[in-house]
């Protein structure tokens, strides 16, 4: 694992299920990542107003502001549009996945298909691509 990526800054975890968020964050902290947790899309957008995370892990189905809306807002904003985004959801509809690709997500993972170790691998891969 490349520790250089981890020391570059904060990973923003956007997940409305508090239990899944805790498991994911425990694992990421164990791997040495510095984190900021957001329980919904609005909290994520509020954080992004004054911060520039090195990567965002984004759930899709969330109350009020959903993940697609967050992704759209990020890609529209010149200051934060280059943040790598990994979408982490259980939605498997073709249209949604196509929309995520159009909006330039770096990766799309179905939660039920991946264990936490594999998610860490994907994060490292995306960070590696961006920071090499």
């Amino acid at each position: 694992m490349n520790m250089e990526h981890k020391s570059r800054g904060v990973v923003l975890v956007v997940e409305d299920d508090s239990f899944l968020r805790k498991l994911l964050c425990d694992k990421l902290r164990h791997e040495g990542f510095e984190l900021h947790e957001a329980a919904n899309g609005q909290e994520a957008l509020d954080f992004l107003k004054n911060n520039l995370p090195i990567l965002m892990l984004l759930d899709l189905m969330m109350p009020d502001v959903n993940g697609l809306q967050v992704l759209e807002a990020v890609r529209r904003d010149e200051r934060i549009k280059d943040i790598p985004v990994i979408v982490l959801s259980n939605v498997g509809e073709k249209q949604t996945i196509e929309r995520i690709q159009q909006l330039g997500a770096d990766d799309y993972l179905i939660k039920a298909h991946f264990v936490l170790d594999e998610i860490i691998e994907r994060i490292t891969k995306v960070l590696g691509k961006r920071y090499i």
Binding site: D17, F19, L20, H30, N66, K111, V115, D117
Partner: protein, 349 residues
């Protein structure tokens, strides 16, 4: 006779599966099914859930025979009435009209198949998404517990066990729900009937939500008059419906609001009503509340989890038990769902 036995067995296996017997059977029993199933046009139409007059393969054969017979008839008529060409012309017009009518039935049959395919896709998509949520909880929790990368306290581990239990219960409920939907759609849904004590059922359902009512800071009221007679019902399903209504009320009522479960005897029925001071249902969405897979926009904004199937199943169950279900709602003020169940004949006073 032997073949028929096999066919029935396969159909029975498939009847318990999800929506559409043909695909479900192919998947469920695989090559065995293809070997034992003697395919005829009628069994094929039966599997497509189409009546013979709606089934394109049968209609094509009917049209083929009709055209051949019509051509022969035209030939005979044309020979017999060589000096009256209008007879042949009228015959051709008649054949064309009948062929057009059969063609319309064929197109309508194909439209039904396309619609069935659309509903099936929607259903599979919904089922997979709804099942993935508890499955990801199971998968991640097991990994967290097994790998030992984090020293969880005994309290946290107990919480893990409770979460695993809830996720498993969720999946069982989802599978039951999917089977019920399939049975409702295929017209094979038959609820059990047994005497139910409505007061006991309501208290049990209410207790089930005590923790979430407390956690949500919602005031709960339970009004049960004395001496309510027993009703006819399917205890497991009626409990599930009442719990669904209470759960919806909690989900869509902000902290500080209230929920009232009220039982009363009205004529030869007992009425259950669940009233909340929640977000309500927009007027434009109200006609669709009992439709399958429907969720109102304001509900989806507040709660992402939900399949839009609970009220669809509730209506089917209550109506088959001889009762009725309805609601009144105002956006921003709250909703009131009521359903009735018939009192057992021996208990009618």
């Amino acid at each position: 006779m032997h073949t028929r036995g096999n066919v029935d067995k396969t159909r029975f296996q498939c009847a318990d599966f999800l929506t559409f017997p043909q695909d479900a059977c192919s998947w469920y029993s695989g090559s065995e099914h293809r070997n034992v199933m003697k395919k005829t046009f009628f069994t094929e139409c039966d599997m497509l859930q189409l009546k013979p007059w709606q089934c394109p393969p049968i209609l094509f054969i009917v049209m083929g025979f009709f055209i051949i017979l019509s051509m022969l008839a035209t030939y005979v008529l044309a020979q017999r009435y060589t000096d009256e060409p209008e007879i042949a012309a009228l015959t051709v017009i008649f054949i064309t009209v009948v062929a057009f009518i059969i063609g319309t039935f064929i197109v309508s049959g194909f439209s039904r198949l396309v619609e069935a395919h659309r509903i099936k896709s929607q259903f599979v998509s919904l089922a997979s998404h709804q099942l993935r949520s508890p499955l990801s909880v199971l998968k991640w929790t097991l990994e967290a517990g097994r790998s030992g990368y984090h020293a969880y306290s005994p309290q946290e581990l107990e919480n893990f066990m409770n979460t695993l239990g809830s996720a498993t219960e969720n999946m069982i409920r989802l599978v039951d729900m999917l089977i019920d939907i399939n049975r409702i759609d295929s017209g094979t849904f038959v609820p059990n009937t047994q005497p139910i004590a409505p007061g006991e059922l309501a208290v049990k359902a209410f207790k089930h939500f005590k923790t979430s009512l407390d956690a949500s800071h919602i005031t709960a009221n339970l009004i049960i008059p004395d001496g309510l007679p027993n009703v006819h019902g399917d205890e497991r399903r009626v409990t599930a419906i009442l719990e669904r209504l209470i759960d919806n009320a909690i989900r869509y009522t902000p902290a500080g609001g209230s929920i009232t479960l009220h039982l009363e005897k009205i004529g030869t029925y007992v009425q259950f009503s669940v009233e909340d001071s929640g977000i309500g249902i927009p007027r434009a969405d109200q006609p669709h509340v009992f439709e399958k897979f429907f969720r109102s926009a304001n509900a989806s904004r507040v709660q992402t989890e939900g399949a839009g199937t609970g009220l669809y199943i509730a209506r089917a169950v209550i109506e088959r038990l001889g009762g009725s279900i309805s609601f009144s709602s105002e956006e921003g003020k709250g909703s009131r769902f009521t359903f009735t169940l018939p009192i057992r004949d021996e208990d009618v006073v």
